[in-house]
């Protein structure tokens, strides 16, 4: 919205005012865009640049050679990288499914009015805001072998006979990080789904009641179909946010034992900052970026489609 010409200044300073008027709007965009370019787009470009060289901690000062696509070949033929992709897929898909199911169940309960609803919702949401370092430590403690409350509970109900060493066992380490991350993701799913549930039209449900549809029938025939757009957004954002989870893995398992819980972002961290293979680390994150861009494009395509409809 721009005021018409007559409203800006007087003819004597028209020349200056005109330039100002034409480009003044861009001054609003400038600081933010500058920051984005310098601190986000440039680092990403630099990251891609690093993938074509062989930069390690030893040659970072003396200079390094261009080796073009060798890093990509190295990474893509690295069995640990391939298993980290597989771990990431397991991690992301299990987290998404359970966060959604538990989040939806909670949202359906909280969609009724009862005393104390607001405060409970806030308490649940607060769990989502706890720094991941703390959540990771907390779950590591709950998953502890002999002294862990989770093993104790499982033995008490007779599910297991002796303690499982969750985070130090190859078969369970990844799943213990998944369970911790599901717990973190539930509140987010619940809040989004609750907002969506509360915006659904009441009339449809009244009509369904008149027609004698059961509660279950209403859920599957009305609620879930109407939640489809929300579900889509949750899946997309879920993939994007879950794929980059790093802190939980670092705290609980350090990617071990024997890389059994190493996901892609953690492997990038390990290569870059534990082994100091900067270029290999950069290559892994660049491959990740490529995957995320594909997911984002799908997301943007559907968002645009929604808006134009």
């Amino acid at each position: 919205m721009q005021p018409s010409k007559a409203e800006w200044g007087t003819p004597s300073v028209r020349q200056k005012k005109n330039i100002f008027k034409t480009y003044g709007n861009y001054l609003f965009v400038l600081p933010g865009l500058l920051f984005l370019t310098v601190f986000m787009l440039f680092p990403i470009a630099y990251n891609v640049f690093l993938t074509f060289k062989n930069v390690t901690v030893f040659n970072i000062m003396s200079g390094s050679d261009f080796i073009w696509f060798d890093n990509y070949l190295t990474v893509l033929s690295d069995p640990i990288f391939l298993s980290s992709i597989w771990n990431s897929i397991i991690f992301t898909s299990l987290c998404l499914v359970f966060q959604f199911l538990i989040g939806l169940t909670l949202a359906l309960f909280f969609n009724r009015k009862f005393p104390g609803r607001g405060i409970m919702r806030s308490l649940i949401l607060m769990a989502w805001m706890i720094p991941l370092v703390i959540t990771g430590n907390l779950f590591q403690w709950m998953f502890a072998g002999e002294y862990g409350i989770i093993n104790h509970f499982l033995m008490w109900i007779g599910f297991i006979q002796e303690p499982i060493y969750w985070v130090s066992n190859e078969n369970t380490a990844l799943y213990s990080t998944i369970i911790a991350n599901i717990w973190i993701g539930i509140p987010f799913n619940m809040v989004i789904l609750l907002a969506a549930l509360q915006s659904l039209p009441v009339e449809v449900y009244e009509a369904a009641r008149v027609d004698g549809a059961s509660k279950a029938r209403q859920l599957f025939s009305i609620t879930l179909p109407l939640l489809k757009p929300t579900l889509f957004i949750l899946v997309m954002l879920g993939i994007i946010y879950t794929f980059k989870v790093f802190d939980i893995i670092l705290i609980m398992t350090q990617g071990g034992p024997v890389y059994s819980s190493t996901v892609v972002p953690f492997y990038a961290y390990e290569q870059a900052f534990i082994h100091y293979n900067f270029s290999i680390g950069a290559t892994i994150t660049t491959i990740m970026l490529f995957m995320l861009i594909v997911v984002s494009l799908v997301y943007l395509y559907f968002v645009n489609k929604e808006e134009t409809e």
């Binding site: 919205m1 721009q2 005021p3 409203e7 800006w8 003044g24 709007n25 861009y26 609003f28 965009v29 600081p31 933010g32 865009l33 920051f35 984005l36 986000m40 680092p43 990403i44 690093l50 309960f109 009724r112 009862f114 005393p115 104390g116 609803r117 409970m120 649940i124 949401l125 607060m126 769990a127 805001m129 706890i130 720094p131 991941l132 370092v133 703390i134 430590n137 907390l138 403690w141 002999e146 002294y147 409350i149 104790h152 717990w183 539930i186 809040v191 957004i233 980059k244 790093f246 990038a268 961290y269 870059a272 900052f273 680390g281 950069a282 970026l289 995320l292 997911v295 984002s296 943007l300």
Partner: protein, 277 residues
């Protein structure tokens, strides 16, 4: 009859209350661990309700330990700086995207959506190399700039709809009164967008408060490290000092609890609008 039982208010409340308590059990466990004496932390079976209660972990690590305050202060500086820088950068650009006539809006919004999805690890490596060549490693500005990259795209995406919802006649009326667009923005528009600015500011603060990765990679100097890194000192090679770790963790969660008590509505709105639009 059965149906009526399940639909009654009190039953819904009881179920909701029970599931909330079950969900929050880890938080309860954090707190009870922090008030247990060493002897009962490693008791088998674990005590669901502590038989002995002690504030030792708190007095030991807070009252008798001057370090904690320093780390807490560092976290405040980093999170507060991130809040300010994010608002300073995001508010004008979000306003321009919402209301002003500029070219390239679509691409800018597209870039925001994609940058919001970037894993921190992807920026951490170039930051480490760039900041080390600029001599900025181990400085608050490095951490504030890094954390702002997490908060800013989100902030712009949340603020844009806020500016869109402000009545349109205001800018014109102000222009007729001889106010230029910058003055109008600062004096008229920003005050009206306060709820949005508050939401975005809180999120920027919370993102930076919980950051581990940037602090881990961009600092080695204990004098500027945040609370999230201080927690590592309780994790030893031969075992973890659980009650101290949980006590200090609880201290780190206090600001979050306060923010929730005072601003819960803004947080809920922020999550809903930040993910939907």
């Amino acid at each position: 009859m059965k149906n009526r039982f399940w639909q009654s208010q009190s039953v819904a409340t009881v179920i909701a209350l029970f599931s909330t308590m079950l969900f929050l059990f880890p938080v309860y466990w954090m707190f009870t661990t922090s008030i247990k004496p060493m002897s009962s932390i490693f008791s088998v079976p674990p005590e669901l309700v502590p038989s002995n209660v002690t504030a030792e972990a708190y007095t030991e690590n807070i009252l008798r330990n001057p370090d904690l305050l320093g780390y807490f202060g560092n976290s405040i500086i980093i999170a507060g700086g991130t809040l300010l820088l994010t608002l300073l950068l995001a508010a004008p650009i979000a306003y321009a995207l919402a209301r002003l006539d500029i070219k390239g809006k679509g691409p800018i919004i597209g870039i925001m959506l994609v940058t919001q999805m970037l894993p921190s690890i992807m920026l951490a490596l170039p930051f480490f190399l760039l900041f080390s060549s600029l001599g900025l490693l181990n400085s608050f500005p490095a951490l504030i700039l890094a954390n702002t990259t997490t908060a800013m795209p989100f902030a712009i995406l949340v603020l844009r709809p806020f500016f869109m919802s402000i009545p349109k006649g205001l800018e014109e009326a102000a222009a007729i009164d001889g106010s230029n667009r910058f003055f109008t923005f600062v004096r008229i528009i920003l005050p009206l967008a306060k709820p949005g600015l508050l939401t975005v500011g809180l999120f920027a603060f919370l993102f930076a408060w919980g950051d581990l990765l940037f602090a881990l990679i961009l600092t080695t100097d204990e004098s500027i490290r945040p609370l999230t890194l201080y927690l590592f000192t309780f994790i030893g090679q031969y075992g973890t000092d659980w009650n101290s770790l949980m006590a200090v963790s609880f201290v780190a969660v206090i600001p979050i609890i306060l923010i929730f008590i005072f601003f819960q509505k803004h947080i809920v709105e922020g999550i809903a609008s930040g993910s939907m639009k």
